[in-house]
């Protein structure tokens, strides 16, 4: 492999990792506070992407420049709303019954995928990035590289920094961190923990929705994508460590890079590399790279 090809593969890995980080950080956030394994996280990704697309299409047809930006907002809002409904109607009152919550979200993911198929059909769809983010950018060593993929990295950095600030510099973040450590104590201090839980769920779901629109701009949106992103979120947080944003970033980087490098070196066996990473991490640190021992 030449140097330029290798650099391109690594950059591809980084851009993929960026998308994975955005999706998985929401999953990790929800798990961190509520111990809820949201098996419908891939469905939230789909909800965000499809609702975003429903908003995007008519506006794009009229050639409005803000179509895509509005799609981002709509996708995040739709996913957040759906997440809030999930938490308030179904998951909130079975807090602590982790397996039951996982089963409920599995049931939801089946229904959501099927209903989206009924509404939007099986035709693959793809967003067109706005002109400002479209085209290619000349990079040293690599040459021309799609601008949007670089935007993906920017979005992931913004999400990462934003989450760090939120968790470490705000009152809500303080409550979330306290809740991760000791939920009953936080409630005893007079904090409305269920409300915090709903807010965190909304935020995590909105991140899945954001990932949905960004992901469906970079690669086509179709049925089955929810399973792929659920799997990715699972592997990323298993490798990185549950509930840790830094761990999620490390996990996303490892998985994204492994996937791209694997596909370049041994295309039909590349999935194995991802799982090798998972197995090795589990063997050495069952709680994940940045996870705390329970």
């Amino acid at each position: 492999m030449s140097g330029a090809t290798a650099a391109t593969v690594i950059l591809n890995g980084l851009t993929l990792a960026a998308l994975y980080f955005v999706v998985a950080s929401g999953f990790s956030l929800i798990f961190g506070l509520m111990r809820t394994v949201n098996m419908a996280h891939g469905s939230l990704y789909l909800v965000g992407a499809y609702i975003g697309y429903a908003v995007f299409e008519p506006l794009y047809d009229r050639d409005l420049w803000y179509a895509w930006y509005l799609a981002i907002l709509a996708g995040m809002a739709a996913a957040a709303l759906f997440g809030v409904l999930m938490q308030t109607v179904l998951l909130g009152w079975m807090q602590g019954q982790e397996l039951r919550q996982a089963l409920v979200t599995i049931a939801l993911s089946i229904i959501v995928a099927d209903q989206l198929l009924a509404r939007f059909g099986g035709t693959p769809r793809q967003f067109f990035a706005p002109d400002a983010l479209f085209g290619s950018t000349a990079l040293p060593l690599i040459g021309n590289y799609p601008t949007f993929r670089l935007v993906q990295i920017g979005v992931a950095l913004a999400v990462g920094i934003g989450l760090w600030l939120l968790l470490n510099r705000t009152r809500l973040g303080l409550m979330v961190r306290a809740g991760v450590d000791d939920r009953p104590m936080l409630a005893a201090m007079g904090v409305n923990v269920p409300l915090v839980a709903v807010l965190v769920f909304a935020l995590g779901a909105a991140l899945a929705g954001l990932g949905g629109v960004i992901g469906a701009t970079a690669q086509p949106l179709a049925q089955g994508v929810d399973a792929r992103f659920l799997l990715t979120a699972l592997v990323v947080v298993i490798v990185g460590g549950m509930g840790s944003i830094a761990g999620t970033a490390i996990g996303a980087l490892l998985v994204g890079l492994a996937e791209q490098i694997g596909q370049a070196l041994f295309p039909t066996y590349s999935v194995i590399l991802t799982f090798l990473i998972m197995v090795v991490v589990l063997a050495i640190r069952p709680q994940g790279i940045m996870g705390r021992a329970r």
Binding site: V37, L108, I110, I111, A227, V271
Partner: protein
Amino acid sequence: MTLARTLLLTGTAGLGILCLVPLALFLALPENQALFWIGNILARALIYGIIALSLTFLATYGGFVSLAQMMVAGIAGYVLAMTVQGAVPVIIGGFGYPMAILMALLASVLAGLAVGAIAVRTNDIYLLMITLALAVGFYRFVESNIDLFNGYEGIRNVLGPDILGRRFRDPMVFYTIASGTALLLYLGVLFLVRTPFGLALQGIRDNPRRISALGYNVVLHRIVAFGIAGFIAGCGGVLATIYNIGISPGSIGLGATINLLIMSVVGGLGHPVGAFVGSLIFAIFDTFAASLYDRDRFNSLIGAVFLVIVLISPDGALGLSRRLGRLLRGKPKPGAPPA
């Protein structure tokens, strides 16, 4: 009641049910409809019941809700399809059915041990996530690999050996073999959980530290339990592959994995018989749902039913019937927390 007596009674009862049901169907329905029930509904319920049994066994006695059981069954199916003479396309080929089935079962045991070894230091929800990740990852590997698994298309034409001059896939032959296998495995599970190994396993489920302090090797017990579950799943995988005349990635994908979980949960994770109750409900539902609701929206329907079951009765149909029984007899409900 002694173990031998329990097994004898259960075995006789099971054999009776498995013989009487087809008989009743032949008496109640025209011959072609009875054969449809036996070949398409009961046989399917038995096959997937066997695979679900491996999950229920792990969940009930070990406390492990493993989502990798469909994958393990699929590994047995793929090894059979890869090695057996007559399968299309030829991947390895050249083996007769006895040898190919033996290798398939060996592969499923090894796969089960591997899953157990990977997940050995995790519990509960982590175990669920890790096994799901393994299952979906294996599916994606199979789907993208042509050399070994023939990719998306899978491997066809696995017809099974002839049994006493009759085709394996003849409804009555298949039903007999499937029900015999199911009954043996079911009795095997009931036997196993009364052995010292089974008791240690249940002890580990309830309190691993205490069992470890008593000198038992917790890690080894857990891995072996996964190996045994692998064997059970492998038997189901072999039967499913012959039943479906081959195997393709779709039969081990996320949908299939989740369906297996639905069967186990709907039946009830409290007792091994739940696996078969759940798989029978699922098979009947799968066959007749189309006439109840929009044919294309089967998944919405099954998802909704699953959701309702999880919401109202986390311990499935078995728990539901137990609760109904208590209600009818007017006994107070025990304080046991739901699963």
